[in-house]
Amino acid sequence: MHRPYPSLRLRTSVTILLVAVILVTLAIVGAGILAVMVPRVEAENKAVVHRAAGEIASRVTGFLANLEARVVLAGALSPGRSPAALADLLDLARGPSLSAIYLVDAEGRLVAASIAGSSAVRTAELSGIDLSAYPLFQAAMRRQIPLWSDKNISAVTGSVTLGLAAPIPDGRGVVIAELPLEALLAITRIVGGTGSLDYWIVDSKGEVVVDTGAGAAERMNVARAPIVAAGFEKRPLPETLRHAGTTYLASAAYAPALGWLFVGRIPTGLANPELRKIVTIVLAVFGGSVLVGILLAPLWAQSVSRPIRAVAESASRIASGAPPQAWPHSSIKELNRLSADLEIMANATARREEELRNLNEELESRVGRRTAELLRSNRELSQALATVEQAKDELIHSEKLAALGRMVAGIAHELNTPLGNGRLAITSLSDRLARFESGLSEGLRRTELDAFVETVRSSSRIAGQNLARAAALVGSFKQVAADRAASRRRKFQLKEVVDEVLLTISPSMKHLPVALQVDVPDYLWLDSYPGELGQVLTNLIENCITHAFKGREQGSIAIEAEPAEPNHIVIRLRDDGTGMPPDIARRAFDPFFTTALGQGGTGLGLFITHNAVTNVLAGSIALTSRPGEGSLFELRLPRIAPLPEPTEAAIAG
């Protein structure tokens, strides 16, 4: 998971950056300086050390050779001198650097002495003491050459000194001189120079006779130090010397005349003052720079971050919607440009905002106006719609009245014929009866009686026949009317309904040159609404008669029916009339669409038909027509009409 970085203030960030830059730079520079300087100083030291041991050995040896020459000379001059002259000679030979010089005869008896800082009594009492066991005396007597001792306890003072035994010629004894270690140390320091270079003078037993370094108080035996052992044994010298926890670059030179080893050494690493100085300077510069950096970086960071912060604050003000202030200016070019650009941007934004606001207000008022207009037109439309609905209802009502009127006219016309025939027969019968009665008074003849009876018979037969026909008509009307009014559902024979419709419609067709051909099989039964079906067929035939044969001499209408699957029947009503163009055919079932406006057409006939087929009979009606090729209405009806909706049933009931 990513932890979000803590966000820092610009000033802190710049401060850290500056300090880090200082640190890294100085660390690299410091490391570079050390990397260059440390090996260089080490190399220089190595060269210095390499030279130093030989130089100090030759210089100290030279100095001691001078002393030796003096002591040898004193020895050579001593024989035959009086005790007083001998004392003077020894005092002279002792000089400032020797601590004691004394003359020992061949038997090891001390003859005369000169001792620095000693009392006359002390000096005098030494004469005659036996030094025959003194190793230095023994060695000088044996070898008859001047010998320098190792670190040696003085035979006359008890101090630790370096002894020189110089034989007196002709085996007459030995002159012994003693050089204090301090004197040798002083000489070594003088000839060895200053600096971090230090010396050991190591005697043949490995005792440190002189140590110019801080370890003067350590009187070590260093015989086992590798460089000392190697120096005495003339083996190749190791380059370093480890002593008392410090590592030194070292070299050694053996002085055969003395039997001593001169060891020069310079501490390596931080123990070396020069290196320590370099490291200290590097660290001091580092520390000082860090300090300066820590003190100055926040100020600098402050001055850098102030204009940026000011710009940021101005931007924040604009972002929070406050009015812009004066844009800050600083000594940084990019910041000034940023500031200027932000100002331009802020102004442009403000301007655009203003324009948008104006535009918005205008848009709002326009929308308000439009909305009001729309509301008004909606209201007007609603009113118009209501008016149209009302008109439609009225029209439907008037169409129904018109249809009723037409039916009544048809019925009247239909009844008129049999009733008129019957009346005519009755009237002619009563005329015949009146003439018969008058003839009876004048005498009646047989022929006359037979003619009268024949007349009565034929007249009553005619009257009876016509009355029966009228009664049949009335019965059938009654049937149709009752069905139409009640939309009663029942099971019926299709042919029966078609015949009744034709019967009803035949009076209006009597004067028309239209032939009706009916091909409806007997076996087609339906469980549906015969009244509605009859109405539908009536309307379709009337529509045909009204429109299809305009300007035609004659025409025919064919009605046929056949079963159709599943459980449907199809009724086709075809004419060979003028047909309809497509735009009329498409709108034929629309309400109030008529091509016979002003000629008694309401435009509702086919609309009612369509409604009855689809709503009551639950079937469908389709119209196929082309101009000049007649029209075909095809009804497709279920054999068993679905039950009406309960509400409708309630209304119907």
């Binding site: 880090a20 640190l23 890294v24 660390a27 410091g30 490391a31 050390l34 440390v38 090996p39 080490e42 090891g108 009392s119 009594v121 002390r122 005098a124 009492e125 005659g128 003491i129 036996d130 030094l131 025959s132 066991a133 003194y134 190793p135 306890i153 035979a155 008890g158 101090s159 630790v160 270690l181 037993k205 490995g206 005792e207 108080a217 350590e218 009187r219 070590m220 035996n221 015989a223 086992r224 008392a244 926890g245 590592t247 390596t268 690493g269 931080l270 290196l275 490291v279």
Partner: protein, 388 residues
Amino acid sequence: MQIANCPIQRSPVGRGLWDRPRPAVVLLLAAILAAVTGCDDPQPIRIGFVGGLSGRSADIGEVSRNAVQIAVQDVNSAGGIDGRPIELLVRDDEGEPQVAADAVRALHDAGVTAIIGPNTSVVAAGMLPAIDELEVVTISPTASSLAFVDLDDFLLRISWTTQDNARIYARHYADLRLTRIAAAIDMDNRVFSESWLQEFSSAFADLGGKVVATDLFDAHAARGYSDTARRLLDSDPEAILLIANSVDTAQLAQQVRKLDGEVLLIAAEWAASERLLYLGGKAIDGLELVQSYNRNDTSPGYLRFRDSYRAQFQQEPGYSGVAAHDAATVLFRALQGNASLQGPALKAALLDLPPVAGLQQPVKFNRFGDAQRRAFFVQVRDGRFVAE
């Protein structure tokens, strides 16, 4: 430079140099410092040595230092103590109490675990306040003044006391039927020499003898050794007892012999170094003294020590060498298995040690940190110490 050989100890934090800038800088600096300073082996155990390496007692001091150096070399070549090498820091006390006290402080600052030394009682007395103040366990091979006896301090001693010694001398010469003894005592080490003489006088008196003359001499005084010799001889003694270091004993013997060839010369054990033989010449022929070790010992341990001492330093080890080696041995034994002991804990460990085998005799401290040594009478004959 040693950079190449040094495994730079890497800090456990920060695997990469540039993971984060600040650890990188630290690492860089650490690397630089490590490169410049070099890197050390296991922390050594630092042991101090304080002894007279210049001045009139330089002989026994040097021998002690050499013996301790051999002991250290032996331990280091055997792998050190618990894997830590021993580093010996040597300080010359110049025979001066104040110099020695300063040396104790310097060694303490250098972090020494313990100090071996000094050789003389006067120096030990000068060191004692610093030793007890800093609680630096200090084992003296040879300091024997009664002033240190039965003190529960941080100064432990290997050698006998002046009382033990003086009584041995008194009984010895009483047995030899000596009754008149004159004594020269060293003013430079009065803590030792006066104590020694006092114990001797009372013990000798108890046995029927008498110290007929005493002379407190000062080696630096103008009057010289001959004056002391004359004063002592004036009391007509049967023997002259010299309670001084080897140099002064030789000088006094020389002056006595110039005046009197017969009188028996006796030296306190302090003088019993090889240097006495070099400086005394014929004057010390017949001189008698006690040594705390058997120079004719043939035990393998002693011979091994003596041979390596001779090989390395081209001289005889001497009594101060044997005692100093024993001091080192007992100290290293106490540190064995607990190399970081210091101060009171180290002292307690030393006192609790069972007897530790020294070169010639076992070392066992009593509850005051004092041990006992055996005494061997020797005589100088023809420039050599000869057991009686």
